[in-house]
Symmetry: C2
Subunit: 258 residues, 2 copies
């Protein structure tokens, strides 16, 4: 769906009854060019909920009107609290599962915006928390630095799952070329060990995340693993086939991957 | 999952880093008995997001600490805006589907808290927006009054879907015994016509919503209908089999149906 069309539709149908979002925030970055223009009628909390519930799909960019909102959300307490409750819900579930203890009870984690955070990259003015066009070159450069911090709640969950006896499998859309730097980054950020780290092969580059990840989870099941839990920031991590006994969505209002 | 356990876990792990929810709200109802007691550490916006993303399942009651929050949410602008954006996203999708026009293109709606609102009932002090134990007797009495208003955004979507040529099917967990009053209530609230109204038979009373609704959608598909869209307030409306080409979640932080 075109976000422009959605914005226009908002403007036409909802603006009359909606209230302006209070501008109680300081400027996160200089607003140059067209960034000063606001679209009337978008309630950014509603937009975020619609994204998190998968009601709005295939969106390109954070709506211009929500750029500051998303920035403050990601840098502030609410994002951290939202991650915490997802991790707590996952832990409460994980703790109550009786594991077989044969080393085949696994928990699947996505990496970007799940195990590791690219927030230092997305907070740069040229990325504007997802309100600016994705730049593959600069994102690759950032990845190669290997400096992504852990999402604290997810690292905490990881540690607790390890104590409960789960094996950890990371499945990421990052390229196989990034294996070494990804391994180093995971270790540096506190993820010391894992059963498998699955990266995307060049031959798989044309596959959507939902197809690629379903296939890779299918391979795990075929190898005898039981996917007890599965956590990701994208619905494409959590839908499709072999999704696991339970899935947990961590928030990500910065980008969409189908 | 036990909400008590979850609350305790919060208390133990998150309270240290969390901030109290500002008490900028007036009292919605007298707080008697234990209702004055607050659980530290529950961020109600995070709790609501976790419920809406299906991270927290099988919960019994709105956490005591979030009773006022949920009340204000349901009575205020945000709930209406959240319903609006779900309806807008659904409409943008529906408008871009090319229908066959043979009368078999259908849109499935749940009824309670989707097409119709039980908010006048849930706002009563004894129900406290889902913070008090569900009372089947009093809820049946309320249903028999047939006075539930439409959820405005959903009624608006219904009207627009009709204009686009969709046939409407309501699938509800309400009992077949409620057919007459439900039909009257739907008409009174603005839902003038529909292809089918599916209610739960006595023989199906032991089935969970996800089993019952999957089966009923399966029957529709067998009859040659194409479920283009499916909207409900519970994930059990939207998961299982024959879920439809797209699903849309409208908010409901008041109760959970598995």
């Amino acid at each position: 769906m075109s976000m422009n069309f959605l914005s226009l539709f908002f403007f036409a149908t909802i603006a009359a009854t909606s209230h302006a979002i209070p501008h109680q925030i300081h400027l996160l970055r200089p607003q140059s060019g067209s960034a000063g223009h606001r679209i009337a009628g978008v309630n950014c909390l509603s937009w975020r909920l619609a994204v998190e519930t998968d009601n709005i799909r295939n969106w390109d960019l954070v709506p211009e009107a929500c750029e500051d909102y998303v920035g403050h959300y990601m840098l502030g307490h609410q994002y951290r609290k939202d991650c915490n409750i997802a991790a707590v819900a996952a832990y409460v579930y994980a703790k109550n599962v009786t594991l077989k203890g044969d080393g085949k009870d696994i928990w699947v984690f996505d990496i970007d915006e799940t195990a590791l955070s690219n927030l230092p990259y997305y907070a740069l003015p040229e990325n504007a928390f997802g309100a600016k066009e994705y730049n593959e070159t600069s994102f690759d450069e950032w990845q190669l630095e290997g400096k992504a911090p852990a999402v604290p709640a997810v690292l905490h969950l990881y540690e607790n799952l390890m104590k409960l006896g789960y094996k950890i499998v990371f499945i990421t859309g990052k390229s196989e070329k990034m294996r070494n730097v990804t391994e180093a980054n995971l270790r540096k950020s506190g993820y010391h060990t894992w059963e498998k780290l699955v990266l995307k092969q060049t031959s798989e580059s044309g596959e959507t995340a939902v197809v690629y990840k379903s296939k890779e989870r299918g391979k795990l099941v075929k190898e005898g693993y039981r996917i007890i839990g599965n956590m990701g920031d994208q619905w494409s991590d959590l839908m499709g086939n072999f999704t696991g006994q339970r899935t947990f969505k961590v928030p990500d209002p910065m980008y969409y991957i189908s």
